[in-house]
């Protein structure tokens, strides 16, 4: 099956800030993967900070929901009816705004009183906000994804990391089981890789607590790496840039605190999909990952 036979999926793309401004190779692999899957992305011009559902929400919830709603109004002025994000945090912020303002007329009026000052109004035109991986599971589908695989990732032992906001709060996200999710594992398996079962699979990456205590986050990371190692995992697969940065950088912090060396390359789900669908490692900037995944790519026969 070629990409031309996949039905076209249209999305307004919300990029957020961590991916384009810190780890742009993830933006690249997402765009390569979307092209291979016939997902057309229309960038949301003039969008701003999502804003962070941990950092800014904790400081002032009203500002958080107002700025998130403004981003939704940017998409409302576009032809697409759905927003797609690459980051679990961005998706949570925009989805919270979109849903809460639709359900709560009082809140909508309150937010619109702010938005009118910049000639914007939340109208409720956006049907939903979804994460890239949710689009893959629900719209591309596991069967079609399988049929599109050109280079199966056979033998790759992946520690799937869901993180938190990709699945929680489940009442809002409504995608997978909030305590025992399985859909990301299904995507990873569809690509030919093995999803290893490890005891700390559901442990948070620690980004939230790191805002107040790096040490606690590092201890959580240590717990996670140890259990992934014991289960025989070779790498992590994540769906959120905060998780990506924590699980990469956490290995350096753990080395300092526990004098123990782990060497897990961290892949974004977009990386694994792009590779399995035939992209080269150079095209998606895998050389920027730390630790570098070269040995794993060699074993897979990927250039």
């Amino acid at each position: 099956m070629t990409e031309a036979t996949s039905p076209q999926i249209d999305k307004a793309l919300f990029l957020g800030c961590v991916i384009p401004a810190r780890i742009p190779f993830i933006e690249k692999s997402a765009k390569v993967a979307c092209k291979l899957l016939n997902i057309h992305l229309n960038p949301m011009k003039g969008a701003a900070c999502c804003p962070d559902p941990i950092g800014i929400n904790s400081v002032d919830e009203k500002t958080w929901i107002t700025l998130a709603s403004r981003n939704v109004t940017v998409a409302e002025a576009m032809p697409e009816t759905e927003i797609m994000g690459l980051c679990s945090g961005c998706v949570l912020s925009l989805k919270s705004a979109n849903q809460k303002l639709k359900e709560d007329a009082h809140l909508r009026d309150e937010v619109n009183e702010h938005l009118i000052k910049v000639d914007k109004q939340f109208a409720g035109k956006i049907e939903t906000v979804r994460h890239f991986a949710q689009v893959i599971h629900e719209e591309v589908g596991i069967d079609r994804l399988k049929s599109l695989v050109k280079h199966p990732l056979t033998g790759l032992k992946v520690a799937v990391h869901y993180g938190c906001h990709f699945i929680r709060p489940s009442e809002l996200i409504g995608f997978d089981d909030p305590i025992q999710p399985r859909k990301l594992d299904e995507i990873v398996r569809a690509l030919g890789a093995e999803s290893v079962d490890y005891s700390e699979k559901m442990l948070c990456c620690g980004t939230g607590v790191a805002n107040a205590s790096d040490d606690i986050a590092t201890k959580m990371n240590y717990r996670k790496y140890t259990s992934a190692q014991e289960a025989g995992a070779e790498c992590f697969c994540v769906v959120c840039p905060s998780c990506y940065q924590m699980l990469e950088g956490g290995q350096r912090n753990v080395r300092k605190m526990f004098k123990e060396k782990f060497s897990f390359p961290v892949f974004y789900i977009t990386d694994l999909i792009a590779l399995a669908l035939g992209a080269s490692s150079e095209e998606i900037g895998l050389k920027y990952h730390r630790p570098k995944p070269n040995k794993l790519l060699e074993a897979l026969g990927i250039e």
């Binding site: 900070c49 904790s58 919830e61 000052k117 305590i179 606690i216």
Partner: protein, 176 residues
Amino acid sequence: MASTIDFTFRNLLLQTHGSETLSYCYQCATCTGSCPVSKETGGRYNPRRIIERSLLGMKESLINDPTLWLCTMCDTCDESCPQGVVLTEIFTILKNMAVKAGKAPQRYKDQARSVWENGVSVPFMDSILRRRRDLELEEELDENVVVPVEELQVLMESTGFKEIVTSFDDNGEDGD
């Protein structure tokens, strides 16, 4: 730590949209049992205790408590609570109050200031712009880099965020 009971605070919490589930709590501690930070800190961070003090109206004890900020916001407690208490939402309201009292860890203040000044938490830097060119993402730059900061500042002034960020400059104390 002060242990004054403040009924006004308690009633305010119970009436605030988002924290009306507070009164459903029967202190079973499923939240603390499911909390990854509680596990890692040997119970020093204790969500059940935060809810208990909220129910009692112990305002000063709560907003001055640095462990309020140890919540990693994973929402596991919300999903596990048999009474449907939305703890994370209640903690958000408490943290918003603590911020207004000048109590917030430095990183929260820094991020808030960045959003006020740049319209984003994480602004672009030259090294990343070079990397974007290497990745052939340069054609997207105009669309991605231009953040309408002035428009955002109008909104942030309107919601009171500017005032909060300005208060960080006047108040050196933080919750670390």
